[in-house]
């Protein structure tokens, strides 16, 4: 019965899932659980010498993609393994590979710019954070895939020289392609609205890591420019003409743009052109959970238990908390994922 119900809700859930992770689908593994009890929290990447570039590949904002059926597998809702052939053909047969090649283009560019060590985060929840094809990855890149704490920038630490975003998506409610902000209608810090890139940039900023490149549609680039005053190399890979429509380039052209942008980004980062994104502490964080979430789900968000988090209600779907630790925002995002998708 549950499966049938989920299937009926599939179109809605796909849109919802654009911003949230299908932990419920992770039957094989242990979910992230409350960060307090999470033995994986804080685990680092294997150390590599030389200038380290961390690349967030968010398939939701990749070049050419305009429709959820191109970037979602269709199995995000906890469908068991036995139905795993339900993947959308464009996602499975085409865009997963194209996203992998796009990430590789960023690695290639970063290498041209002088980076020696590369981590790529598969930051998009489709297929259990498993869209990028490990077997097609650049042979020097560490690929971070599957569920994990601080999923978008898992393993990032101060040994990294720069942070790059490929596939940035404009914030929920803006006029971009497939816009969303995790599971929120909006999230503000100290009254300032942040999109996914800016939230992660704030966490990275506390580690002393700056953002050097953001690639995505024109809406994402324009709003991120306003959010990150220290600047970055912008790469506009498509132009929004609707929520699921855009002016797009060929993937080959996109790869050239990403590669050139990443090379320039690393060169300028090494020259000291960028600065970590900082905001005044304590951070006053307010968020509104995604429209369409049930009262039960909102109650689950309200009941979220994270050490150091004191969540206050702020209207029907709103919450607020105060913290000195930007990672706490990331943990809230992690913890909300199973709640939202369930």
């Amino acid at each position: 019965m549950r499966v049938n119900r989920l299937r009926c809700l599939m179109p809605l859930l796909i849109l919802a899932a654009l911003g949230v992770a299908p932990l419920a689908a992770q039957r094989g593994g242990r979910g992230l659980g409350p960060p307090a009890n999470n033995p994986f929290q804080g685990k680092g990447l294997p150390y590599e010498t030389g200038f380290r570039a961390y690349i967030v590949m968010n398939m939701a904002g990749m070049g050419a993609a305009v429709d959820p059926k191109e970037i979602m597998s269709g199995t995000e809702t906890g469908a068991p393994a036995q139905t795993n052939t339900a993947s959308y053909a464009d996602y499975e047969g085409r865009f997963r590979s194209l996203a992998t090649q796009e990430a590789n283009a960023a690695v290639r560019g970063a290498r041209l710019g002088g980076a020696k060590s590369f981590a790529v985060s598969d930051a998009h929840p489709a297929n259990g954070f498993g869209s990028l094809l490990p077997w097609e990855m650049d042979s020097a890149a560490i690929l971070i895939r599957g569920t994990r704490p601080l999923f978008m920038i898992a393993g990032l630490d101060s040994t990294f020289g720069t942070l790059m975003f490929d596939g940035a998506v404009a914030s929920a409610g803006s006029n971009g392609i497939m816009t969303h902000t995790f599971g929120f209608d909006a999230l503000t810090v100290n009254g300032k609205k942040l999109n996914e890139v800016a939230i992660m940039a704030l966490i990275a900023g506390e580690m002393g890591v700056s953002v050097s490149m953001v690639a995505g549609d024109d809406a994402a680039i324009e709003e991120t420019k306003a959010m990150l005053p220290a600047g970055f190399v912008p790469v506009i890979t498509k132009y929004a003409v609707g929520r699921i429509a855009g002016i797009t380039y060929s993937p080959a052209k996109v790869r050239q743009m990403i590669s050139a942008g990443a090379a320039e980004a690393v060169r300028r980062e090494k020259a000291g052109a960028f600065a970590p994104f900082k905001m005044d502490k304590p951070y006053h964080v307010e968020f509104t959970v995604q429209n369409g979430m049930s009262d039960d789900n909102i109650a689950q968000v309200a009941a979220m238990q994270i050490p150091g988090l004191t969540l206050e209600r702020n209207g029907a779907r709103g919450f607020r908390f105060t913290t000195d630790n930007a990672k706490l925002i990331g943990y809230v995002i992690d913890a909300m994922q199973p709640v939202v998708i369930r």
């Binding site: 689908a25 992770q26 039957r27 094989g28 593994g29 242990r30 979910g31 992230l32 999470n38 033995p39 994986f40 685990k43 680092g44 990447l45 294997p46 199995t75 068991p80 393994a81 036995q82 139905t83 795993n84 052939t85 993947s87 499975e92 981590a119 297929n127 259990g128 954070f129 498993g130 094809l133 490990p134 077997w135 990855m137 650049d138 042979s139 020097a140 890149a141 560490i142 690929l143 971070i144 895939r145 599957g146 569920t147 994990r148 704490p149 999923f151 898992a154 393993g155």
Partner: protein
């Protein structure tokens, strides 16, 4: 071994187990000889108790016959390597549901691709071992997805001799024998209860122990191998698995292919790097084995074995798992409602018990 497919098996088993109740009497004593001593568990239900891969349907041989058959294939004067394969611990793998099983239609694309990765890591291990001086390569298919047929037979090193398909005796150490010179493992995963990628141990709810020492699936294979004097030379898996293996088998070469960041996620090292590391470690392991530098990890007899069945199994399935016919298995209620102990002087019997427990979970 894998737990995937178990949920699929559950419905069939629940139906199957209840059907067994009505099949009349007759099994009882048939398996009672092997373990020696009387079973203290409740008597097996009437009928052709579904506690063994039934020989009459699947023709499963006794494990000692399987061992004899394999022994005959070992050429004297060479160096024979016994390689246990699994899939959860392969480079790149994080997701049990989508990457470890075939799917209902038998064509999950990620599972199919990871069969190639299994073959690649296996081939790297064989190539490395050959460089070190190994001459024969016996490969056990230890992953339940696709019913223990995951190595791509047309892509595997032509010198490999495969033990594939299931049911068969002693699933993850079929036929290991005294003519083997070294054991290696690729693709295995952390123990049940360890934080790591797709951590589990057969259908158990926690780590099996031998004389109080925790053994994961690879550890159980090595335990069986050690009784025949076969040392563990090389293993590869995630960082949690690597730490476990280093603790229990300190003389083995250990390759870390990924860093676990949840039970279903983590940082994946590039495939090419992993293959190179496995190859180098296998070479080193064979060289060290030849130099007598690999230590055999053995346990004092009689072995005191303890395990608990995973509590997610429905009662009818659990009842089948709790009743491997022919072994004097004792309930260990002090450790938990689904816990058992068994004392034996033959490590191979543990392989058989795990095989029988697995039967309830994965019955084809």
């Amino acid at each position: 071994m894998s737990r995937h497919g178990m949920s699929l098996a559950l419905c069939a088993l629940i139906a199957g187990a209840s059907a067994l109740q009505s099949q009349g009497t007759g099994r009882g004593a048939s398996g009672a000889g092997r373990g020696g001593g009387a079973a203290v568990l409740p008597p097996a239900p009437p009928g052709d108790a579904d506690t063994l891969p039934p020989a009459k349907y699947f023709g499963v041989t006794e494990y000692d016959l399987a061992r004899t058959k394999l022994e005959k294939l070992v050429k004297p004067g060479g160096f024979a390597v016994y390689i246990v394969t699994d899939m959860e611990g392969l480079a790149g793998v994080v997701n049990n549901g989508r990457e470890m099983s075939t799917g209902r239609s038998g064509n999950s694309p990620d599972h199919q691709r990871f069969r190639q990765e299994l073959t690649d890591e296996l081939n790297a291990a064989i190539a490395g071992a050959r460089l070190g001086g190994a001459t024969q390569f016996f490969v056990v298919e230890g992953h339940g997805g696709n019913n223990f047929r995951n190595v791509l037979v047309d892509k595997v090193d032509p010198d490999a001799i495969l033990l594939r398909g299931w049911p068969r005796p002693n699933v993850m150490e079929t036929g290991v024998n005294a003519k083997m010179n070294m054991m290696m493992v690729v693709g295995n995963h952390p123990n049940a209860g360890t934080p790591g990628i797709i951590a589990h141990s057969y259908a158990l709810g926690s780590a099996l122990t031998v004389n109080g020492i925790k053994l994961n699936e690879s550890g159980i294979s090595a335990f069986v191998g050690a009784e025949f004097g076969v040392p563990l030379g090389m293993v590869a898996g995630d960082d949690s698995y690597a730490a476990e293996m280093k603790e229990t088998f300190p003389s083995a070469e250990v390759v870390t292919v990924k860093v676990a960041m949840s039970g279903a996620g983590g940082a994946m090292l590039p495939f090419a790097r992993v293959h190179a590391q496995i190859k180098a470690a296998a070479t080193k392991a064979v060289q060290r084995a030849k130099a007598g530098q690999l230590k055999l990890v053995t346990f004092a007899k009689p072995y005191h074995i303890a395990w608990c069945i995973r509590n997610t199994f429905a009662q009818p399935v659990y009842e089948v798992m709790a009743r491997p016919a022919g072994f004097a298995i004792r309930p260990d209620s002090a450790s938990g409602p689904r816990c058992f102990t068994y004392d034996t002087n033959k490590a191979e019997e543990i392989g058989t018990i795990m095989n029988l427990v697995e039967w309830a979970a994965l019955k084809p």
